[in-house]
C-alpha cells in the first residue's frame, strides 16, 4: 500500500518535471520559429539532393524516390526531438557539473537520472510538436511523400519515436556524466554528436550502406533514433518484424539506461563537487 503511494507520488513529481521541460522550451517562441525555418530550408536542400541521387540510382537502399524524400523530412522533423545536433539537456548537465551547480541537484530527494529523463522527454515532446510538424507539412506540400494511409502505422511510428527518445537520452546521459571525470565535456560531446549524425542515418539512410559498415551502423544504438522510426513510418517493418524492431530499441534503451545508472552511482560516490 505504502509502496504504491510512494510510487504514485514519484510519478507525479516526474510528470511535473516533464511538463516543466515542455513549457521551458515553449517559452522560447522566436527560437522555435527560427528553428522551424532552418529545418525547412535544410529539408528542401536535402530533398533536392536526394532526388538527384535517386534519379541516378533508382531504388537505392530499397527506397523509391518518394520514400527517400519522406526520409529527409522525417529526419528534419526528428532532428531536434532526438537532439541529434545537441540542444538537449546534456549541455546544461555538463555545465552544472563543471560549475558545481550539480550540488543543488544532488541534495534534493530526487533521482538525477529520472529527473533529467523526465525533463528531456518533456522537451522532446515539445520539439516533436513545435519543430516536427511544420517542416513535415511543408515537405508534404512541396513533394510527393510516402505518407502512411493506415492510422495504426502512425501510432506505430509514434511508439518508435518514443523509444528512440529513450535511447537518445540514454546515450546523452552517459556522455554528460563523463564531465564528472573530464570536467570539460565539450570534446566528447562533439565526437558523439558527429557519430550520431552519421550512424542515425541523418546524412544518408543506413540501408544505403552495404556490407559490414551497413550492418554495424544498423546495429548501433543511433539507428534507433532515426533509421528505425523512419522505417516503421515507411512500412518496412510490419507484424513480427515490427515487434523485433521495438525489441531492438527497447534493448538499447534498457542497456544504456542501466549503464547510466551505474555510472551515476560511481560518479556520485566519488563525486567532487566544484566550487564554493
Amino acid at each position: 500500500m505504502k509502496g504504491m503511494r510512494v510510487r504514485a507520488g514519484r510519478f507525479r513529481l516526474y510528470a511535473a518535471v516533464a511538463e516543466g521541460g515542455f513549457r521551458r522550451y515553449a517559452t522560447y517562441r522566436i527560437a522555435t520559429a527560427a528553428g522551424v525555418f532552418t529545418n525547412t530550408a535544410f529539408g528542401l536542400i536535402l530533398a533536392y539532393t536526394y532526388i538527384a541521387l535517386w534519379d541516378e540510382r533508382p531504388g537505392l537502399g530499397g527506397y523509391d524516390q518518394a520514400q527517400a524524400v519522406t526520409f529527409v523530412w522525417l529526419g528534419q522533423g526528428l532532428l531536434t526531438v532526438m537532439a541529434l545536433m545537441g540542444g538537449g539537456f546534456e549541455g546544461e548537465l555538463i555545465e552544472r557539473i563543471r560549475t558545481g551547480d550539480i550540488a543543488v541537484d544532488l541534495y534534493r530527494p530526487a533521482d538525477l537520472q529520472a529527473w533529467w529523463l523526465a525533463s528531456d522527454l518533456g522537451r522532446a515532446l515539445f520539439q516533436l510538436l513545435g519543430r516536427g510538424i511544420v517542416p513535415m507539412a511543408v515537405g508534404a506540400l512541396v513533394f510527393d511523400l510516402a505518407l502512411p494511409a493506415d492510422p495504426l502505422r502512425w501510432l506505430a511510428f509514434l511508439l518508435a519515436v518514443a523509444l528512440g527518445a529513450l535511447v537518445s537520452f540514454g546515450l546523452r546521459f552517459l556522455v554528460a556524466l563523463c564531465a564528472f571525470w573530464l570536467l570539460d565535456g565539450a570534446g566528447i560531446t562533439q565526437v558523439v554528436m558527429l557519430a550520431g549524425t552519421f550512424f542515425s542515418g541523418m546524412l544518408l539512410p543506413l540501408n544505403v550502406f552495404p556490407g559490414a559498415l551497413g550492418d554495424l551502423a544498423r546495429a548501433l544504438p543511433w539507428s534507433a533514433l532515426l533509421q528505425v522510426p523512419a522505417d516503421v513510418f515507411l512500412g518496412t517493418h510490419t507484424g513480427l518484424g515490427l515487434l523485433r524492431t521495438y525489441a531492438f530499441q527497447l534493448g538499447w534503451a534498457a542497456a544504456l539506461l542501466t549503464a547510466g545508472r551505474l555510472l551515476q552511482a560511481a560518479a556520485t560516490r566519488r563525486v567532487v563537487v566544484q566550487g564554493g
Binding site: 513529481l13 511535473a16 518535471v17 516543466g20 513549457r23 521551458r24 517559452t27 543543488v104 563537487v273
Partner: protein
Amino acid sequence: METVGTTDLIELEGVEKVFDVRKKTGFLRRERHQVRAVDGISFTVPRGEMVGYIGPNGAGKSTTIKMLTGILTPSGGRLRVAGIVPSRERTRLAQRIGVVFGQRTTLWWDLPLIDSYRLVHRMYRIPDARFRENLDRCVELLELGALLDVPVRQLSLGQRMRGDIAAALLHDPEVLYLDEPTIGLDVISKAKVRGFLRDLNTQSGTTVLLTTHDLTDIEQLCERVMVIDHGRLMYDGPLAGLHEVGESERTLVVDLERELPPMEIESARVVKVEGPRQWLAFPAAQSAAPLVARIAARYPMADLSVREPDIEAVIAKMYAEKATS
C-alpha cells in the same frame, strides 16, 4: 526516532576532507598534491540553535556544509545530522534539511517562480494543506507575492535569494544550512533576510547553520559563532568572547586643549594623531579608568570617549595571526 537521548542535531567528530588535486606542471607532466579543505573539525549544534560559521576565503566552510548535506563524503571522522550519516543516506536526510547556497539557485531558471515551488511540493511529498500554509507564510514574510509569476531569470539577485530561501523551507526542515545567504544583497534586502531568519529560528525553532562574510549577519542573528581557518576550528563560543581570544584592543579618543606631540603613556600607545585629537589603543580587558587618570594628570585634556573594538577588526587580526604563525 534516531535522536532519542540526544538534543544535538548536528554532530561532527574529527571530520576531515582531503581533495586530490592534479596540477599540470609542464608538457605531459602532472603533479598530484592534496588539499586539506577540512582538517579535523569537531562540534555539535543542539536543536533550535542558530550558529554562525565564519572564516576567510578557502577556510573550508562550504566544504563542511557539503558534507553536512551528504553530497561530499568525508575523508575521515564521524558526522551525523539528525542521527543520519549524510553521505550514506542522502535522500532520507534531504527530507529533514533545507539548504541555500547563496551563489547557486535551486529555482527553475526559465519558468515562473511558482513552478519551482510546485516541484518542491511534489519532490518532498509535502501534504497539500501544509504546502499551502507554508507557501502563504513564506510569500507574506519574504514579500514574494508579486514575483510568483515572474520567470526566475528575470528576478533580481535579492528577489532570487528570497525565492531560494522560501524553496528551502516549504517542507519544514529541522535544520537549515545557509551558505552566504546575504552575498551581494543591498542593505534593505539583507535586513529583510535577517529579520525572516530570526523569526524562523524563534518561532519555528528551526536549527540554523549560517556562513557569511558579513559580520553584521552574525552580530544580529547568532549568539554562538565558530571561526574556521585552514580547515581547523579556531574559535567556538559566544560572539563577545572573540574579543578575548583575538586579543582585541579598545580605543581611547582624547581631545587635548591644543596640538601636542604624541602622548607617552604606559600600557597604551598612540595610533593616530589629528590636530589636537589623539587615538590611544589599549588592551580590551584592561580598565580605562586608571589610564584616563594618568592622562588627565599629565596632559591638558578637553574631552574623551572610549570606542569598543569592532568585531571585524578582531577577526581580521585573528586570521592574520594564524596565517603568519
